[in-house]
């Protein structure tokens, strides 16, 4: 295999493999935002008396 053959192979295979791994990482690492449910303690009435 010639040097140019190696270059084409490495760029082609490297590009698709890199893109695939990057996409899978992004998909699997993504945590969907969860709606925070507020409890009674989270409510701030701004009432400073007592």
């Amino acid at each position: 295999m010639t040097l140019s053959g190696w270059i084409i192979m490495i760029i082609s295979v490297g590009f698709v493999t890199g893109l695939f791994l990057w996409c899978m990482f992004r998909v699997l690492a993504y945590k969907p935002p969860t709606n925070k449910l507020h409890g009674i303690d989270d409510i701030d009435t701004q009432d400073t008396d007592e």
Partner: protein, 531 residues
């Protein structure tokens, strides 16, 4: 406009990505792509291939994902319903006929090829394909197995093994379709796609560690085999060849399963704020990984190691896959095992694709005619079963299969993809469509793609289609300037054409008319519900 019916959604994001990737990954990734790359000189071919991926493949993927999810919000999952929403004109639903016709007709012959893969995997594991060193024995075995010597041969008592595998494969497909989108297709693809990738990696390791299999022919070694696949020729001269661009763009196009009516249907089962940008790119990248990193490194290098260039040049997809490769594996140490794994890989790639071809039909029968899952599965099984029997019966030279593949599996797909690209950029409107694409998106598409999708993708697609018509239909010879219609056209129009090809064309027309009548019926039903 909204059609209120029980909505069904994918259960997980990775599930839909693997289902779309499974739909895209097929025999073409492992058999057609390597042959084309080697034929046109890998350097020039890969340049045209990656340009086509960026300008054609990935944009159309995003288009289909976006349009499908958009229409799914209104409760439509079938192609006629989706186009009803997109075009907002009563005629719109008839455009969608193509979106059912294409996968339905392709399924009729694709399931037969799938049966060959399962059959060959079985024969490999049981060592029935160790037929010696003469390629003619492998050709004879294959012709006998698929019934290519004469019509009706596949049904005769001595040649019916392929039909047995076909029955099994057909039943498997309809079992998963009957189970539904989540418990059937998604559950199966979640296992099948990673397994096929793993099998591909195992076979790849075997091929790359073969060294010099025949010490008497030291030139047939792994280094030279990879060189045959990847060494560039005269890149700039080759890039001037329009046939190379047609081959590269066609490979991208068919490999990603765009324009089939499948991705648009799958995407319609997404929730309205589910991401389509990263998901679409992920599914495309999975297909590209299987095609370039696995397919490009296995098939042609393996064949070269045992036959040299003479065994590969001029081989078609079936010839390379079902004649050359079985002989290659039979000569390889532990070849029966790795050959079995390779054909199992092809079978998994094929079944994940064929399952996706059934879903558009099921979706239409359920939402268009109001059938339940059992009824829609039975009716679709009857229609595709009759079509498959037609293909299997007219098996001489695989004429019926070849004719259906050319006119539906190639020509109709170009037309459908062009319609989708124009719908996104010009009918829905690029600004609205762009905004719709980015709804819930996890990453933004670079802004220049807006111009690419609006202008470049449709123009490129239409140019490639025009080149296809000029070279593959009209049969223009650039060297001589002469025009001679290709065999596909000759079979239909010349006095000594092929009766089987004409019957196949009639089958396409009959199925298209039948679907058009059903779509008209569905339209009246939708009008009553939404009124």
């Amino acid at each position: 406009m909204a059609y209120n019916r029980r909505n069904e959604y994918w259960s997980s994001r990775i599930g839909v990505i693997l289902a779309v990737a499974g739909s895209a990954v097929g025999l073409g990734n492992f058999l057609r792509f390597p042959g084309l790359a080697a034929q046109y000189g890998s350097g020039a071919f890969m340049i045209a291939y990656f340009i086509s991926l960026i300008l054609l493949g990935i944009p159309i993927c995003w288009i289909e994902w976006t349009l499908g999810r958009y229409a799914g919000r209104f409760g439509y999952h079938s192609s006629p319903g989706i186009f009803c929403v997109l075009v907002r004109h009563p005629f719109g639903k008839y455009i969608g006929v193509l979106g059912i016709l294409i996968p339905l007709v392709i399924f009729m012959y694709y399931v037969y090829i799938e049966a060959w893969c399962l059959g060959y995997a079985t024969f490999m594991f049981t060592r029935k394909l160790e037929l010696g060193n003469d390629i003619k024995e492998y050709v004879k075995f294959w012709s006998s197995f698929v019934g290519a010597d004469s019509d009706g041969l596949a049904f005769s008592k001595t040649h019916n093994q392929a039909v047995l595998f076909l029955g099994l494969v057909f039943a498997l497909n309809f079992y998963f379709i009957y189970k539904g989108l989540v418990r059937g297709i998604e559950a199966f693809c979640k296992y099948a796609v990673p397994i096929l990738m793993l099998l591909g990696i195992l076979v790849l390791i075997r091929v790359l560690t073969l060294g010099t299999p025949d010490p008497n022919r030291p030139e047939l070694n792994v280094n030279n085999a990879l060189g045959f696949m990847w060494n560039p020729g005269n890149v700039w001269a080759q890039l001037k060849n329009p046939q190379l661009w047609l081959a590269a763009a066609g490979q991208i196009f068919f490999s990603l399963s765009v324009g089939f009516g499948v991705v648009i249907t799958y995407a319609s089962y997404l929730r309205q704020d589910d991401d389509v940008v990263l998901s679409g790119l992920s599914a495309s990248s999975a297909n590209e990984f299987c095609e370039v990193a696995l397919g490009g490194m296995i098939t042609v290098p393996a064949a070269y190691l045992f036959f040299g260039a003479a065994g590969i040049v001029g081989q078609g997809t079936f010839s390379l896959g079902f004649n050359v490769l079985p002989m290659v594996f039979s000569k390889m140490p532990a070849g029966y095992f790795f050959g079995g794994l390779f054909f199992l890989l092809l079978f998994l790639a094929a079944i994940t694709s064929s399952l996706s071809m059934l879903q558009p039909g099921i979706a239409f029968l359920e939402e268009g005619l109001g059938l339940n899952r059992r009824q829609s599965t039975a009716l679709l099984g009857l229609i595709t079963g009759l079509g498959t029997l037609f293909v299997v019966y007219f098996s001489k030279d695989l004429k019926a299969l070849d004719t259906l593949d050319f006119w539906v599996g190639t020509v109709c797909i170009y037309i459908m993809a062009s319609i989708l690209a124009i719908t996104y950029g010009w009918i829905l409107g690029i600004d609205k469509a762009w905004q719709e694409t980015h709804r819930g998106a996890e990453m933004r598409i670079p802004a220049f793609f807006k111009l690419i999708i609006k202008y470049v993708t449709p123009s490129y697609l239409i140019t490639i289609f025009a080149l296809f018509v000029v070279f593959k239909v009209v049969g223009w010879n650039p060297q001589t300037g002469q025009i001679a219609p290709t065999p596909y056209v000759q079979d239909l129009i010349s006095n000594n054409g092929s009766p089987v090809a004409r019957l196949s064309a009639t089958l396409i027309i009959v199925v298209a008319l039948f679907l058009t009548i059903l779509v008209a019926t569905a339209g009246r039903r939708w009008n009553k519900i939404t009124r």
